[in-house]
């Protein structure tokens, strides 16, 4: 008799949640840092003045949604790679790979769990930011927000799994995240609209899925754009997901197989 996927997902989520909660100091420091960052963005937006309305929104909600969502994607990837690295260091990776649950399923569920905790942080970040500081109340389109969110999650899970594969193959998966983080920070429009970038950089920007995640989420959340309106973001995100997710899983399983052959599953 097999245990269902949902139950396994919940078991992994519970493990990650309990671990996060029990590192109390880190939780408090992280929450405080989040509040300080939101306050800094609020006063930055005030200093810039109400005349600057990127993509038709006030600058403060533009910043909160952009940086919050960007952090959600990158921090979720980092959390997953950290989970793989910790599992290598403690030796749990070897044991996990010998359980009755297929390694590919385990990896996918672990990645989703890593992003679930990032989702809570995202909700606190955006919700807290928009509630704590007086801004014009946004009129979100819930359906469009949900679709963009799910696609963004799938993209981020895929890149996270690729980074996890690199962590297993080279013991330095963080390198891929550094690359993703540093190059996408200014190219994806977390702080400013990509329309101000010069043409060639703008073209590169549109080839990065996070750009479409941020644009789609801002349109749906801050302008109440419908599903039809955000189709220009949904279509490229769907293509990225359809290609990236299976590729990342295949690469991960291959990296795992190589590690089993090389005997490096617990190297770090």
């Amino acid at each position: 008799m097999k245990v269902g996927l949902l139950e396994k997902m919940l078991a992994i989520l519970r493990r990650d949640l309990l671990t996060t909660i029990r590192y109390r100091a880190a939780l408090v420091i992280g929450g405080s840092a989040m509040m300080v960052e939101i306050a800094a963005f609020y006063y930055l937006a005030r200093a810039v003045g109400p005349g600057f309305r990127p993509e038709g929104s006030d600058y403060f909600p533009f910043l909160v949604v952009g940086t919050g969502f960007y952090t959600f994607v990158v921090a979720g990837m980092a959390a997953f790679v950290a989970a793989v690295r910790d599992a290598q260091q403690t030796g749990t990776l070897e044991v996990l790979m010998t359980t009755s649950t297929r390694p590919s399923v385990l990896v996918l569920l672990s990645a989703v769990s890593a992003f679930s905790i990032s989702t809570v942080q995202l909700l606190l970040y955006i919700g807290g930011g928009l509630m704590l500081f007086p801004v014009r109340a946004p009129h979100p389109n819930v359906a469009a927000c949900a679709v963009i969110f799910i696609l963004s999650l799938a993209v981020a899970v895929s890149v996270g799994i690729l980074a996890g594969a690199m962590q297993i193959a080279t013991q330095r998966g963080g390198a891929i995240l550094t690359l993703v983080g540093s190059t996408t920070w200014f190219l994806t429009g977390a702080l400013f609209p990509v329309s101000v970038l010069p043409g060639p950089l703008r073209a590169i920007s549109y080839m990065i899925p996070i750009t479409h995640c941020l644009q789609g989420m801002r349109m749906a959340l801050l302008q109440g754009a419908s599903l039809a309106t955000v189709q220009g973001e949904i279509a490229p995100l769907t293509i990225f997901v359809v290609v990236l997710l299976p590729v990342s899983l295949v690469v991960f399983v291959r990296a795992l197989r190589q590690a089993r052959w090389r005997g490096t599953l617990s190297y770090y």
């Binding site: 245990v3 519970r14 403690t90 030796g91 010998t98």
Partner: protein, 266 residues
């Protein structure tokens, strides 16, 4: 039917060259771990692996657990190939690794076991009772709700054994399972291993302890420099001292303990 079969298994650990090499190539710099091992373990028997450090005992266990893949030859667990039918092997086999800290430190022993029981497909209605039973088997009932980061080495080792027993495996792989156990717990554990074997479970166990080997084994295999140096039926071994003497004769190693004993006596 033999429960675990190693057929001409060779295992090397290659030097890292490429991220994802297209095929398995054994480079000249590779470390040879096992060479042409052929060994069968009948069902419901305990086979103990003896051998010096680096002789390949852990590698053999990890090959049977699917953690490692063989370069050549094949490993069958209950008839399933560890490469082609890894999923089937994982469902029948439990392993207690020598790495004591392979748990989630901020979770309690019970929470760790609940997590692994779910991944091991232990059905929810049976889970609590199963966890209580393995905690009881390993003497951890009183520490069930303690975060494992507070555990001693011996407690970690007991928990590792408890985890291996969760899915009621028909093949149990144990890597130096009593290394950190206290003297009282060790004989209890030996009895537990014998009970498993008597109940139909096949046990493959690596150890350096001759008393342990003699107490639990039906068969003793000696590994030396990655090769199977000898294999004995324990019914033909006349006590622990005979086992020790055979081992040192086979491996050609210097028996310091016997030498010191002889000097003290004289």
């Amino acid at each position: 039917m033999d429960a675990v079969v190693f057929e001409a298994v060779t295992k090397t650990f290659p030097e890292p060259r490429r991220f994802f090499p297209r095929q398995r190539r054994i480079s000249q710099n590779a470390t040879l771990a096992l060479l042409n091992i052929t060994l069968s373990i009948p069902s419901a028997k305990v086979l103990v692996l003896l051998g010096p450090n680096g002789s390949g005992k852990t590698t053999l266990l990890k090959l049977a657990s699917t953690m490692f893949l063989p370069d050549t030859g094949r490993v069958l667990v209950r008839g399933a190939d560890t490469v082609r039918n890894a999923d089937r092997v994982r469902r029948t086999m439990g392993i207690a690794v020598a790495n004591e800290r392979s748990f989630f430190p901020r979770l309690t022993a019970r929470e760790n076991l609940e997590f692994f029981a779910t991944l091991e497909d232990v059905p929810r209605p049976a889970r609590s009772a199963r966890i209580m039973r393995v905690l009881d088997n390993t003497g951890l009932t009183d520490s069930a709700d303690v975060q494992v980061m507070k555990f001693s080495s011996g407690m970690y080792q007991r928990l590792g054994i408890a985890r291996a027993l969760l899915k009621q495996p028909s093949v149990l792989l144990l890597d130096e399972p009593t290394r950190s156990l206290d003297p009282n717990a060790t004989p209890q554990f030996w009895r537990l291993v014998r009970d498993f074997a008597d109940g139909g479970c096949t046990v493959l166990m690596a150890t350096h302890n001759f008393d342990e080997a003699f107490a639990v084994a039906d068969l003793v295999a000696v590994l030396h420099s990655g090769q199977l140096a000898d294999l004995w039926d324990v019914t033909r071994v006349h006590g622990v001292e005979d086992l020790r003497a055979r081992y040192f004769r086979t491996t050609g190693e210097y028996d310091l303990v016997s030498e010191l004993r002889a000097r003290c006596t004289s």
